[in-house]
Structure formats: structure tokens, C-alpha cells
């Protein structure tokens, strides 16, 4: 089986879908001739032409609006927002238009648009190249929200997203484009070839948009994570030396509450990890859901480990980043509480 990093996996998903379905078009800033600033669309314009892999003006609102119009006219556009931090000019088109078109027309109109965007920090990008705005989009009714943690899932989830008739916001954690980063920035980078999920089939396959994955089974505490933080949580568990169950949510909307809640009911403890800021973050939704579903099984208060409630800093990136030490401390807290 071919080995791919997450960039190549995204590229392969787009390649497969452009090849299979003539209604699929890829569009965005620098995605055509150049192949994208992160190389996710490299070679696709050469292979499929300028009409299917379209360089666009620098106008996120225009990109999403045009994608909606194309979707209404029967295409399946995959729009790239160069950084998730740049998505805000498109916010109205996503929230008021893309997300609600099916609803407001009682199903007469819809647009099967996938909006891809690299998210997350750890690349010295400062406050405009590091954000994790997934919680802003999970709060919007009518769009699905996906964030893979590895190349295999990235390809399978992206294929599912493009094939889905509902709009999907597809977040790509850029810190793990090239390897499974475990949160220790002092260590040399590890390539995806060292990880089993770097094995990615060359052809078409899907990972469903509604299922979390248990990446480590354990008995004592459940850790809910997604994206880069899945790998950081694994490192934290090694550090804490506990028998933790780690769940990679993969799809935030719709959320696989069954997998996560049956795990917490089993372990009795829950630590929620995300890189985004804490207040009103997606972790609050996870925490509330776990409380509602698992209250009588809980042995300790639920802990959240997140980015601080500040803009993403440039100089103090690693003080900001919810690294293994902070997660391990939260694990210790829930273990000692009971």
C-alpha cells in the first residue's frame, strides 16, 4: 500500500474525485498552476485542466459564494480557504447561505460544497495563521464539520465530504501535514511513514462522516480529542502512565455521541482536549453532552485542556499550545479526584 503524508492524502482524495466525477471542481487561491501553498493540489491542474482546478481571486467570500452558485447548478465544488484564519470574509456566505439553503427552500435548492481549510498552530504562524475556528462552525445548523488526525482518515473523510450532498467544512491540521506531531517541538520531526495511518490506499474509499474512532483502548479515563491533539493526547497518556482510552472524534458534526459516551460510562472519567480557545469552545459542548449522558457514571469532574483564551501568540506558541504536560496534569487531576 502507498505511504502518504496528510498533504498527499488530501491530494489523492481530490485526484480520485476529480477522476471519478466530472461535476467535481477544485477552486481557491493558488490551487491551480502552483498547486497550493501547502501543495495539497499539486499536479491536479496539469492533470484535469484549468477549468476543473481553478485559480481564484483573493476573495474568500467570493470563492464560497461562487461555489454555492456552482453547487446550485449541479457541480460539486471543493473550495480551498488558504488558511482557516482567512475564512471570516466568507462567514456570511457559509452561515446564512450555504448552511441554510436546503432548509429555507424546503429541499428545493441545495449546494454540495466542501470547504477545505488548514487550521491549527505550531508553525510559528502567529494569530493569523494558527487558529482553530471549528467551534464557530459547529454552532451553525446545516453544515457538517470534519477534522482528521491522520492521512488515512483525511483521504477517506474528504472523499465522503465531497460525495455528501450536504455542505462540509473540512479542517486540515497543518501541524500534522508532514508527520504525527506529539506536542514536543524539541524532538526531531517524525514522518508519516513511521505511522500505520500513513498507509493510504491509492484508489477510492470512504471513512463515514458520523463515526469516531477509538485509537487506544483503556479502562481508567476517556480522552476526547481530534486533529493534532489526538497525537498529543497519546504522548500525554504515555507520560501519565495511565490506562486511558483515547477517542478521535474525526467528525464534530454530526457527532458520534454513542462511541464517546459509552467510553466515558465505562471509564468514569473524561478529559477533553482541543487546541482552540476554551470559552464557548467545542469542548464545552462535549463536556455538556458527557454530563447529560454519563453523569451517574462519572467518578470525577470533567476536565478540559485547551488553548488559552487569548489570540494565538507568535513568540509564546509553546506556552499557548495545550501540550502533553498540561494534558497529563489533567489526567492526574481526574485520577486523583476519586
Amino acid at each position: 500500500m502507498p505511504q502518504m503524508n496528510l498533504v498527499q492524502a488530501v491530494n489523492s482524495a481530490l485526484d480520485v474525485m476529480l477522476g471519478r466525477d466530472p461535476s467535481v471542481v477544485v477552486m481557491g487561491e493558488d490551487v491551480g498552476y502552483f498547486g497550493g501553498v501547502f501543495r495539497c493540489t499539486e499536479g491536479l491542474q496539469r492533470k484535469y485542466g484549468e477549468h476543473r482546478v481553478i485559480d481564484t481571486p483573493i476573495a474568500e467570500g467570493g470563492i464560497v459564494a461562487a461555489a454555492i452558485g456552482m453547487g446550485v447548478n449541479g457541480l460539486r465544488p471543493v473550495a480551498e480557504i488558504q488558511f482557516a484564519d482567512y475564512v471570516y470574509p466568507a462567514f456570511d456566505q457559509i452561515v446564512s447561505e450555504l448552511a441554510r439553503l436546503r432548509y429555507r427552500t424546503a429541499g428545493e435548492f441545495s449546494a454540495a460544497v466542501t470547504v477545505r481549510m488548514p487550521c491549527g498552530g505550531g508553525i510559528r504562524g502567529g494569530q493569523t495563521h494558527s487558529q482553530s475556528p471549528e467551534g464557530i462552525f459547529t454552532h451553525v445548523c446545516g453544515i457538517k464539520v470534519v477534522m482528521p488526525s491522520n492521512p488515512y482518515d483525511a483521504k477517506g473523510l474528504l472523499v465522503s465530504s465531497i460525495e455528501d450532498d450536504d455542505p462540509v467544512i473540512f479542517f486540515e491540521p497543518k501541524r500534522i501535514y508532514n508527520g504525527p506531531f506529539d506536542g514536543d517541538w524539541h524532538k526531531p520531526a517524525v514522518p508519516w511513514s513511521t505511522h500505520s495511518k500513513g498507509d493510504v490506499p491509492a484508489g477510492h474509499y470512504t471513512v463515514p462522516l458520523c463515526r469516531a474512532e477509538i485509537v487506544r483502548t483503556g479502562a481508567d479515563v476517556t480522552i476526547l480529542a481530534y486533529g493534532t491533539m489526538v497525537h498529543v493526547a497519546e504522548a500525554a497518556v504515555r507520560l501519565a502512565g495511565v490506562d486511558a482510552e483515547i477517542i478521535d472524534l474525526r467528525t464534530l458534526v454530526p457527532l458520534d455521541t454513542d462511541t464517546m459516551c459509552s467510553s466515558v460510562c465505562k471509564t468514569g472519567r473524561c478529559v477533553i482536549v482541543h487546541e482552540a480557545t476554551r470559552f464557548s469552545g467545542f469542548g464545552a459542548e462535549l463536556s455538556a453532552t458527557v454530563q447529560e449522558e454519563c453523569f451517574w457514571h462519572l467518578l470525577a469532574p470533567i476536565q478540559r485542556v485547551t488553548g488559552w483564551d487569548t489570540p494565538y501568540p507568535h513568540a509564546f506558541e509553546w506556552e499557548y499550545f495545550p501540550g502533553p504536560a498540561r494534558i497529563a496534569a489533567a489526567i492526574k487531576t481526574v485520577m486523583e479526584a476519586s
Partner: protein
């Protein structure tokens, strides 16, 4: 030290209540005076049309000049009928709102030619992306008034299943896109639709309408940029009805330049047209449509018209403009002007007009009677509240099904 002379400029206030109406700012061109360029003409030769005004009907009601579309009297009568129906329908729905039977309404009075002539100049399979003041598009394309009324009533036959405020219609099979309450969003969407049509090799174009006020939104800029870059087969219409609720078109950026003049800056022909002249609107739309179909790309059209009524039933224009302003509007009324033209052609009379109005009024009453049988706020069948959970996604997720069941239990279902 040099004098500091920079001052914040606030565009001069339009005539306000108690002041005489003042349209001295409005620049017009004599009917028949503006040349009609070839659709393949270079931008530079078309550019003057952004500051002139294409007009076909003169004050006597005669059609003159190179833009005369030479429509048959029968077609003109159809156009008149659609415009009169639009106005009478609007008037009736306003009264119905005042009686408390619908929550809200928004008339297009005075602007009927923009929509009706526009729709008639296009083909039925061209895709329309309207604003909320384009009901004439629905009328001209033949959507049943019963359907429009049921939407306004949010009743059991409402195309939107009670999810949209009155007038925010859509019509999939009639090729009219859903109306958003957020302004200008449809403008770049229309461009995307047109890009897809071109990409697929279809002989169809898109046409979208927004008010002059909404041209200030970034969506307007996105639409013009994308339309120009990809030479999309799209007609972008700015309906300059002089008022964005209480602010004049000067606050939208119309003081120093026309809205049509935005076009050439993007490489798009901009044409300013007398929006109350049915023939001129038809001719300019036809010109733009032919351009788009021949692969010559987008056109920006500014329709100069006047919002004769309130912004909506939630608005009272007597608070911000002179009561008599409408009568002072230099471009007259689109229906009266087309009637006059038909009379000049010997194809219309006051008596026929009277009979037409009576016939259409009776039709509207009949439609309302039928619409009411599908439910009104006080009587008849009502929408199943459980439908409010449908169509958020194609398949209802489990979490939403649980919320639906919760409401069902609460309602004793």
C-alpha cells in the same frame, strides 16, 4: 504651516419631510439619444453608456431611437398585464398584512418594469437570482398567485414550509433562486452559477438583481470581480430606486458617480437605463443577454427607478422623505408610460385598462380565497410543527431526531 483643510464629507441630505422634493441630482438623457453599440464593441466605446441613460419612450409615449426593441403590441400588452397584476397583487397583499392576516409584506410598486421587462427579455431556462423586490419576475414567469400567497401565509401549501418571512420565495422548476434576507449574497452566487453553466457548455445565463444600497456590500465587489475574471454569462442588475430604507442613494455611493460606472472599472460594460421605461429595460436586458450568450461576458445594468412605496410594512417613509416626492419623480410611472405608448399605437384604451384591472382584481380575490383554504393564522389547516426539523440536513441526524421527539412529546403527539 499649511492649512489643514481635510474635512469629513457627509453627502448632502435628500429632501426631507416638509421640504420640497428635489431631484435636481438626477441626470437623464433624452429618449432615443443614446447610441446602441454592437455587443462585440470594445469596452471603451460602451463606457459612455454608464453615465448616460438609455431611454426609448419619449414624453408623448412614442418609442424612438436605436434601442427601440420593436416589440409587437401583443407582447407589450402581455408586459402591461404582468405589471398591472404585480401592482394589484402587491396592493392586495399590503391590505391583507394590514388586516393582520400575514406578518409582513414588501411592495415593488413603481419598479414593475425592471422585473417584468427583465424576465420577458430572457429565456425561461435562464436562472434568476432576485432580491426581495422582484415579485414581477414570478408574475412574468407565471407562478401561480396562490403559491405566492401560501408562502406569505406560511400555510400547508407554503413552498418554504414556514421557514421564511413573506416574499422570500423560491421556484426550482421556474429557475428562480431562493431570496435571502441578507442583502447582496445572491449577486456572487449568480456569477458562480453562470460560471458553472459556461463550464458545462450550457446555453443558459444567470441574471441577478440587488438594490443600489446593497452595492456597498463586499458581495457586490466579489460578483463583479469574479464575473469579469471568468467572463461569466451573467447580467448583474442594480435597481437604483433612490432609497435604502431612509438613506438616499448618495449614502450608497451614488453622489459622485453612477452605479453603472462601477462596471468599467472591473472591465464590465455598465449601462444606465431608465428603469421606468419598459421598452428601454427590455432592450438593454436583451442586449446584455445576447452578449452573454455569444461569449462576450457579463454586463452591469443600473435601472434608475423610484421606490414608490414604503420599504416594507415595517417602514413609514413619511418620517424621512416628502409625502409628495413620488409625484415629483422625473421618470414617471412604468405602467402609465407603457399604457400611454400602447394608446399611441392604437392598441390600448382607458376602457381596456379598466377591464384589465377589474379582471385581475377578481383573479387576485379568487386566488386569495383558494390560498386561505390551505390555512390562515386564524383558520383552516396548519403546518405540522414537526416539519421544522426537516431539511436541516438531507438525512436527519440522530441528535435532531431526539429534539423532534422532545417537541412531539411536549405537544402531546
Amino acid at each position: 504651516m499649511a492649512a489643514h483643510e481635510s474635512r469629513l464629507h457627509i453627502p448632502p441630505s435628500p429632501a426631507r419631510p416638509g421640504e420640497p422634493p428635489d431631484f435636481s441630482y438626477l441626470k437623464t438623457s433624452p429618449a432615443g439619444s443614446v447610441p446602441r453599440p454592437e455587443i462585440t464593441a470594445p469596452l471603451v466605446t460602451i463606457e459612455p453608456l454608464a453615465s448616460e441613460m438609455v431611454r426609448v419612450l419619449d414624453d408623448a409615449g412614442t418609442a424612438i431611437g436605436p434601442w427601440n426593441p420593436h416589440l409587437d403590441p401583443e407582447d407589450l400588452q402581455v408586459g402591461l398585464r404582468h405589471m398591472v397584476l404585480t401592482r394589484r397583487f402587491d396592493d392586495r397583499m399590503l391590505r391583507i398584512q394590514r388586516q393582520g392576516r400575514i406578518t409582513f409584506y414588501l411592495k415593488s410598486s413603481g419598479e414593475e418594469a425592471v422585473s417584468v421587462a427583465g424576465a420577458m427579455a430572457l429565456r425561461p431556462d435562464d436562472m434568476l437570482f432576485p432580491s426581495y423586490r422582484n415579485q414581477g419576475l414570478y408574475i412574468a414567469r407565471g407562478r401561480s398567485l396562490v403559491d405566492l400567497m401560501c408562502q406569505c401565509l406560511s400555510n400547508t401549501r407554503d413552498m418554504c414550509k414556514g421557514r421564511q418571512m413573506p416574499v422570500l420565495y423560491h421556484w426550482g422548476s421556474g429557475n428562480i433562486f431562493s431570496i435571502s434576507g441578507n442583502l447582496a449574497t445572491q449577486f456572487p452566487q449568480a456569477v458562480g452559477w453562470a460560471m458553472a453553466a459556461a463550464l458545462k457548455g450550457e446555453d443558459r445565463l444567470a441574471s441577478s438583481w440587488i438594490g443600489e444600497g446593497a452595492t456597498a456590500e463586499a458581495d457586490f465587489h466579489h460578483a463583479l470581480t469574479f464575473a469579469a475574471v471568468y467572463q461569466a454569462p451573467v447580467i448583474l442588475n442594480v435597481v437604483n430606486n433612490q432609497w435604502a430604507i431612509s438613506t438616499s442613494q448618495k449614502i450608497a455611493g451614488g453622489e459622485l458617480s453612477t452605479f453603472a460606472a462601477r462596471g468599467p472599472g472591473y472591465g464590465i460594460p455598465g449601462i444606465r437605463v431608465d428603469g421606468n421605461d419598459f421598452l428601454a429595460v427590455y432592450a438593454v436586458m436583451q442586449w446584455a443577454a445576447e452578449r452573454a450568450r455569444r461569449g462576450n461576458g457579463p454586463t452591469l445594468i443600473e435601472h434608475v427607478t423610484y421606490r414608490a412605496s414604503a420599504h416594507s410594512t415595517s417602514d413609514d417613509p413619511s418620517r424621512y422623505r416628502p409625502q409628495e416626492e413620488g409625484r415629483a419623480w422625473p421618470l414617471g410611472d412604468p405602467i402609465a408610460r407603457l399604457e400611454r405608448h400602447l394608446e399611441v399605437l392604437g392598441a390600448w384604451s382607458a376602457d381596456r385598462q379598466d377591464r384589465l384591472e377589474k379582471e385581475l382584481d377578481a383573479h387576485i380575490v379568487e386566488c386569495w380565497r383558494e390560498a386561505a383554504t390551505y390555512g390562515t393564522p386564524s383558520e383552516g389547516p396548519s403546518l405540522d410543527p414537526m416539519t421544522l426539523f426537516e431539511d436541516v440536513f438531507k438525512e436527519m441526524p440522530k441528535s435532531l431526531a431526539r429534539q423532534r421527539d422532545e417537541l412531539k412529546a411536549l405537544l402531546g403527539g
